[in-house]
């Protein structure tokens, strides 16, 4: 294990003639921590998709007779300052968090991978220009750049996703560039070139599929960071706008009632922690499973 995953079972000798992807899948399935993380992620996805069915109450309906009620049989996670059920808001808030995580990383992948591939494959002044611009973006701390972008674009969940996606793009540019530069000197690329394949075909058909593993690991870990970033932006009032539920904005409100209603802060924060931890566990497991040194 190169860096810090949890317990990994000792891998038995791989079957002969096994494809790299099958081998990685076999190792991932044996990674207990990653499987636990995956189960939690799937559970949260199911909760987010089935929110209208599983949420006990309407997440935006106020109830003036049940203001700041502690957890009880009726309201498992208690109620907030407007008498809204916190469990229902957390269930609906899972949609915003997961959507923000996946869409912003999707934006970063869609923008970062082609740019990084072009820089690594074409080299020369294209590479110099892209690399310097990537360095400049990486010089701005991720969250500060996301806050600045969200501030200039205006507060909304959509703009927060764009801001997080743009801020996460340089990491993928750098990763795709590095992986492309390593792959383009491999024998199979030389062979493809020797057979007379055009450059675009070599980049897309021969190099791109071979740089997927590090991108996959980074994308999983980036979803975890993006979920925290969305919660942070919503906490600051730059993400999901009220009354729509979001874990970050719930924490913002909860801070004002920390003495009278601590449960308002405990459960949304715990939800962010659990889902982010789960994505990190899957990311760590994927990295271990895809690490060629562990063959």
């Amino acid at each position: 294990m190169p860096d810090g995953g949890l317990v990994t079972a000792a891998a038995p000798a791989p079957p002969r003639g096994e494809s790299p992807s099958r081998r990685a899948l076999r190792r991932l399935v044996r990674h207990r921590a990653a499987m636990f993380g995956l189960a939690v992620v799937l559970l949260f996805i199911a909760i987010a998709v089935l929110a209208p069915l599983v949420a006990p109450y309407d997440p935006t309906r106020t109830n003036w007779t049940a203001i700041r009620r502690p957890p009880s049989e009726l309201f498992w996670f208690g109620t907030d300052e407007n008498g809204r059920d916190i469990l229902s808001r957390i269930i609906w808030g899972a949609r915003a968090s997961l959507l923000a995580g996946v869409i912003s990383v999707g934006i970063a992948l869609a923008a970062g991978v082609p740019i990084g591939l072009a820089a690594g494959f074409l080299g020369g002044w294209v590479d110099v220009l892209i690399s310097r611009f990537t360095d400049a973006m990486l010089a701005c701390p991720f969250l500060i750049l996301a806050i600045a972008l969200a501030a200039f674009l205006g507060p909304s969940l959509e703009n927060a996703m764009i801001a997080i996606g743009v801020s996460a793009t340089p990491i993928f540019v750098r990763l795709a560039r590095g992986a492309t530069m390593a792959a383009k000197v491999e024998d199979y690329v030389e062979a493809a070139r020797g057979l007379g394949n055009p450059r675009w075909r070599i980049a897309l058909r021969h190099i791109l599929p071979n740089i997927v593993p590090p991108l996959l690991v980074q994308a999983t870990l980036a979803i975890a960071s993006a979920i925290i970033a969305e919660a942070s932006l919503s906490f600051l009032g730059l993400g999901q706008q009220p009354p729509a539920p979001s874990w970050g904005s719930m924490l913002n409100t909860a801070q004002r009632f920390i003495e009278q209603a601590p449960w308002m802060a405990v459960f949304p924060g715990l939800s962010i922690f659990v889902v982010v931890l789960a994505f990190n566990l899957v990311g760590d497991g994927l990295r271990d499973a895809l690490d060629p040194r562990q063959r």
Binding site: A139, C140, P141, L143, A148
Partner: protein
Amino acid sequence: MLGFLARRVGQTVPTLLFVSVLIFGLQQLMPGDPALILAGEERGDPTVLAQIRAELNLDKPLPVQYGLWLWGVLNGDLGFSWRIREPIAAVIAQKLPVTLQLGLMAFVIAVAIGIPLGILSAVRKDTPLDWGANAVGLAGLSLPNFWLGIMMILFFSVQLGWLPPSGYVPLTEDWRRSLATTIMPAFVLGSGIAAVFMRHMRSAMLQAMAQDYVRTARAKGLAEKVVVLKHALRNALVPVVTLGALELGTLLSGAVLTEQVFTIPGFGKLIVDAVFNRDYPVVQGVVLVTATLYVLLNLIADVLYVLINPRLRHA
């Protein structure tokens, strides 16, 4: 060595130039006309609008605007705050020491927790201690620091009444109260970085412990403590020391939320307040100063890496 320094400084200049283009570009994303925001109730008066545009150089072509802005920045003029009508450089200079104090404390906490935990985890690999340290490291990376801050306020301020929940007292005014107001936010800020240090320290130690020189030291009959601390740790620390400088970005990002939770009037709170007051030049100024600090620290980290690594120093 001198050649390396010249090359590395040479790379920094275009990066900073690109940073300036990026940050100037942020202004172009701004919704609406800045002159309309600044004019306030006089927004209907074309003379006032024209005057504001001339003052801000908004009536000039974009490349000229950029050139004038960059010239100002190079001369220490980051513009003026739209809200408090003060030079941005002065506002930032006033807030920066608060965040630096917080950052320094956070860094000390991160090193004190992360480095020993990483060493212990590597030395006791595949034991319950290693699994526990890994779990703590992963939890530290997954905890949203603003939530950790709220939970600490709940426990240490509301339940136990040990520490003030918010506010800031400068070190120069009363060092005891200053520590009392900053210890919780510093811990919150440092915990995430401690987790990063722990994971990297563990990884670097595991690599170092597998090297031939460690095997030789053991074969010579040296005590395990000497092998770990003198031979493995000294080599494993090299990449971790440079990583420390690069964690500045995490520190400044974290400070935004931590200062907001604990109501500390620092650099992080400045950008949030500027966002809500639509004080865009301040947002721009904060990002510019942060990015410049980061690029310069990156440069120092690279030079440090070469200086403390004899193999690279003599290359």
